[in-house]
Amino acid sequence: MIPKKQKAKPRVAFFDFTSCEGCQLTVIDALQYHPELLDVIDIVEFREASSDSSDVYDIAFIEGSCTRASDEMRLRTIRDTASVVVALGACAHLGGINAIRNKQELDDVRHYVYDGKADWFATYAPRAISKVIEVDLVVPGCPISGAEFVRLVKGLLQGRMLEPIDYPLCIECKLKENVCVYQRGEICLGPITRAGCDAVCPMYGAGCEGCRGMITNPNMDAFYTVLREHGLSQAEVETKLTLFLTNQTMSMSREEAVHVEPTH
């Protein structure tokens, strides 16, 4: 429930893993517009904004994906300490852009990036933090939406775990009367992507890349048909779904593979 004056403010910590820190910057930006949040929380660790640090906290916001076995231990410590763990942004939520490499051989990628020093860097397939620890709440997006961050955090402080939006982007896009980018012969992942960003990419004329992750139960077969009708080859369809959705599409096709087996 809401911390009134007599109650201690919840102690909040921000942690980053493999990420660009853009989501933490968005948090700083959101706090400037909503300074009232600072009256009701106590930020005890936030490397992006303060030099304080603490081993004691109630709510942990985690930015970034887990890309090394050694990250797992740090994640578990955070989970054991915090009573609420929030995945902040696409990296933490989905594995993010970092997961693009998951469709390639790990050794090839490491040698391409680190060349002769590849063996110095232990790394594995980037994954969502929910693959390692239990996550209570997700703030989706790359970067997150400041407004949604404020909404979800307010809910959290009121003792309500608000779910992020789970309907497709097309809904928001149509409400704004944007030109559908398909009308210009371009591709958009809006029909399978969660709304909540106010359809910002189509509003500026670009197709959605799916940074907020897929809606529950997307009709992928129908969507592939639409993409093929718009001239994409099978390989191009797969590439199109790679920027943010690599992990989600890979786990979908694994599920499908499991699913069809018994019929043979």
Binding site: L157, Q158, D166, P168, C170, I171, K174, E177, V179, A222
Partner: protein, 358 residues
């Protein structure tokens, strides 16, 4: 009928005068499409437009509307919306028919006071389409390609002049003190009748059956195999319902400030095509399958609204067909159902006949 005639050369003056007294909105071009938006003058107003992305229903049930402001201790509870008097110019007749349906929906049982407040504050100025507005429209089949009521003023383009059919006192008042609108004389009426009578060649029929049969056809098609086929194609994107002038489903949420003192009750458009629409407490979803959502949508359009409000729930504007990336169109769906049911053998519902004839 009571008509005023206005030379087109005077139209800009008239619009400017309206803008002096009201918020005036009308169809404007935006990145190659048309949207209803506020007018600063007659420039930008496009009365000859195919159709708008969203219908003018957005001025009666806004996409997002604060309904109530309140204090949680009960000391304050007030209706938020105080709609501005608004003239909506250039409404196509299909959208006028859709608003007639809205008037019934929002007044049945409890009158929706928020809708009614908007309704009382708008003045509807429609325009007669003289040709089909786009390849997906089928307004003639649905009986909506013309209108004799439901508007405050209705414009007919007679070349050099506009004729205005006066539908209400609110409409007539828009000419108060304006000297360039004249009572129609016999030759004007002849010309109006000529234009209205000869436009029909530009409106092909596209349904393979009579609209009177639509509710019966859907009734018979409840277990059609077509719903599964549509479910396989549909993306569940919700675009079709968002752009539809007869869709009105909404969601209401309470948004409370951080200290849980002040709150707002907000209404937003919802869609029967999305996953969470039919999700109830405990996580059960009674329309999980897309086939069931598609069936529900078309049943609403062609039958359920008739059962509940005695009007067909589709006005044939074609917006949903234009918006659908999967190529699902009501014309194709209805004709396919008809083909599968041999619908010429169906008995029309008596109530539909009464409505369409009225």
């Amino acid at each position: 009928m009571n008509f005023k005639i206005m030379p087109k050369s005077a139209f800009a003056d008239w619009v400017d005068r309206l803008i002096g007294s009201y918020r005036v909105v009308g169809p404007k071009r935006k990145h190659g499409q048309y949207v209803f938006d506020e007018l600063r003058g007659v420039e930008g107003l496009e009365l000859h437009y195919p159709t708008s992305v969203l219908p003018p229903k957005k001025y009666l049930v806004p996409q997002k509307e604060v309904l109530l402001n309140y204090h949680l201790d009960g000391s304050r509870l007030e209706i938020a919306s105080k709609p501005e008097p608004t003239v909506i110019l250039g409404i196509h007749t299909c959208d006028i028919h859709a608003l007639k349906l809205f008037d019934r929906i929002f007044s049945q049982g409890f009158t929706d006071q928020h809708y009614q407040a908007h309704r009382d504050s708008v003045i509807l100025v429609s325009i007669e389409c003289l040709e089909m507005c786009g390849p997906n429209a089928y307004c003639r089949d649905m009986g909506t390609a013309s209108a004799t009521e439901g508007f405050d003023l209705h414009m007919i383009d007679l070349g050099d002049v506009y004729a205005f059919n006066i539908g209400s006192q609110k409409g007539a008042d828009l000419f108060k003190g304006f000297r360039q609108a004249f009572d129609a004389i016999d030759t004007d009426v002849d010309q109006i009748n000529h234009v209205l009578a000869t436009k029909w060649d530009n409106f092909p029929y596209r349904l393979d059956f009579d609209v009177h049969e639509m509710p019966a056809l859907l009734h018979e098609s409840f277990n059609s195999t077509l719903w599964d086929e549509l479910g396989q194609k549909c993306l569940a994107c919700g675009s079709c319902t968002q752009v539809c002038p007869t869709c009105y489903c909404f969601d209401v949420t309470d948004e409370v400030d951080l200290l849980m003192e002040e709150g707002q009750r907000v209404r937003r458009w919802d869609s029967c095509q999305i996953h969470e629409f039919a999700m109830v407490a405990g996580g059960h979803n009674f329309r999980e399958r897309l086939a069931l959502r598609q069936r529900h949508r078309f049943m609403r359009k062609g039958k359920y609204q008739m059962d509940a409000y005695n009007m067909v729930g589709c006005v044939g504007c074609g917006r949903c067909a234009s918006a659908c990336l999967a190529g699902i169109t009501p014309i194709d769906v209805m004709n396919e159902l008809c083909a599968r049911q041999q619908c010429s053998e169906l008995e029309p519902f008596a109530s539909v006949v009464a409505e369409v004839a009225a």
